[in-house]
């Protein structure tokens, strides 16, 4: 119960942070940090996939409603939640515990970074591709994906490194 309240609190906090502040950041017109994916990234490794995807759908849709981009964030976020366990298994050393919350302490900095960048990249690629919905300006799209990925990763790394 407490765990659920905690999660809901995190979800609301991240959504508000994203909607009110981060969505207004457009560094050089290209890079926007999408920090709300931090929520699913930090779910315990033994969370059922279905639950992860439902979280992702709920949060994504909430952000969409604020942004008037109904479906876009939800689709990208559900995709990320879907592939996350696979990445987690891929980048986790064999000898770790069965159930853990992804982080640099548990996984080691290198593994965690790989896991982080992979997830962020998947999410941003899906999100920005659906958003532009065309491959006409492929260079521009690529630039936006790369820059936004760098920015989001930096934000999450900053949070991760300064949290106890």
């Amino acid at each position: 119960m407490n765990d659920w309240l905690n999660k809901i609190g995190w979800a609301i906090g991240l959504v508000l942070l994203q909607v009110l502040i981060l969505n207004n950041i457009h560094i050089g017109e290209f890079a926007t940090p999408f920090l709300y994916i931090y929520f699913v990234l930090k779910l315990s490794s033994d969370t059922p996939r279905n639950q992860q995807m439902l979280w992702a759908f709920g949060i994504g849709l909430t952000i969409d409603i604020f942004d008037n981009t109904v479906g876009i964030n939800a689709a990208a976020f559900v995709l990320m939640a879907f592939v996350r366990p696979t990445f987690l298994r891929l980048f986790t050393p064999r000898d770790t515990y069965d159930s853990f919350i992804p982080g640099k302490k548990v996984m080691g900095s290198a593994s965690f970074l790989r896991y982080l960048v992979s997830c962020v990249l998947i999410h941003h690629t899906a999100l920005l591709t659906i958003e532009s919905f065309s491959f006409i300006s492929l260079g521009m799209l690529g630039l936006r994906i790369v820059l936004s990925t760098v920015l989001t990763t930096l934000c999450i790394v900053a949070i991760e490194w300064f949290r106890k």
Partner: protein, 283 residues
């Protein structure tokens, strides 16, 4: 069948994934066509409230730039007002001048514009220098007026300058009358102050009130009739007791005359020559 069920149970997350993605895309396509839809856009009550609060907070962060913009705008408007006032003032003077000129009978007078470049108030005999001379058509004995009233009479001219005998000069004598009565007298100055002169030789049977307007009579060759001179300020008897001596408050403020008009009456030289001739003949 069991295999299929097992498969479905084992990979149920695939189903959920596909279902959620399908739902997302249905929403995406559906609501991108209907942006104004009630529930899912930010006009929704909750999101609207959140944005309202955040917008209220965010507006404080812009106060500095908003303030600067306002100051800039303020400065701009103030400059504009100053310019407008300046223009307006110029036009006011012009319209007064226009009025004073409009009072003149048309046709028989020529007007020349001139600026005062030297002026005095406190001497026993005051002269004014203007920046137009005979090259501009100005000749001695022409009348000089400004927007408010009579200034004086041209005395001497050079090529591009002229001196004017101001009303504040013992040599100045201008034929004046009181509006409405047609009795006329001579306006003289007694060296007292720059705002008053005296109207002499007004017959004792003339009727007038304090505050009546004094204008040029038109009997001299210099000024046309009806140009403002001043108002009756005080009245008394002349030394010999045969006529009134009126103290006239001059309409022209000699302390600040700047641009004036020189009035040339057509045929004034003929009139003058004729008058000279008759005087000589009388003698």
């Amino acid at each position: 069948m069991r295999n299929l069920l097992n498969f479905l149970i084992k990979y149920n997350y695939w189903l959920l994934f596909l279902a959620l993605e399908a739902l997302s895309f249905i929403l995406l396509f559906h609501y991108n066509q209907y942006q104004e839809s009630y529930f899912f856009n930010s006009a929704n009550a909750v999101t609207g409230k959140v944005y309202e609060v955040s917008g209220g907070i965010a507006s404080y962060f812009h106060l500095k730039s908003v303030n600067k913009d306002l100051l800039d705008r303020n400065m701009e408007l103030e400059t504009k007002i100053q310019n407008l006032e300046k223009t307006l003032k110029a036009h006011q003077v012009d319209s007064l001048e226009l009025l004073s000129i409009e009072r003149l009978p048309q046709g028989s007078y020529m007007l020349y514009k001139a600026n005062v470049i030297n002026n005095s108030l406190n001497l026993a005999d005051n002269y004014i220098t203007i920046d137009q001379g005979w090259a501009a058509g100005i000749r001695p004995d022409m009348g000089v007026v400004d927007a408010n009233g009579v200034v004086g009479i041209v005395y001497e001219t050079t090529r591009s300058y002229a001196t004017v005998i101001s009303l504040l000069n013992s040599r100045s004598n201008i034929s004046c009358k009181i509006v409405g009565s047609n009795y006329f007298g001579t306006l003289r100055w007694d060296h007292s102050d720059s705002q008053h002169a005296y109207l002499e030789d007004l017959p004792r049977h003339a009727q007038f009130n304090l505050g009546d307007t004094v204008v040029t009579s038109g009997y001299s060759s210099v000024f046309p009739a009806g140009i403002m001179v001043g108002t009756v300020d005080d009245m008394g008897d002349s030394n010999n007791g045969l006529s009134y001596l009126l103290k006239v408050k001059l309409a022209t403020d000699f302390g600040r005359i700047s641009d004036v008009r020189v009035i040339a009456r057509k045929g004034y030289q003929q009139q003058k020559a004729l008058e000279q001739k008759s005087i000589i003949t009388n003698e």
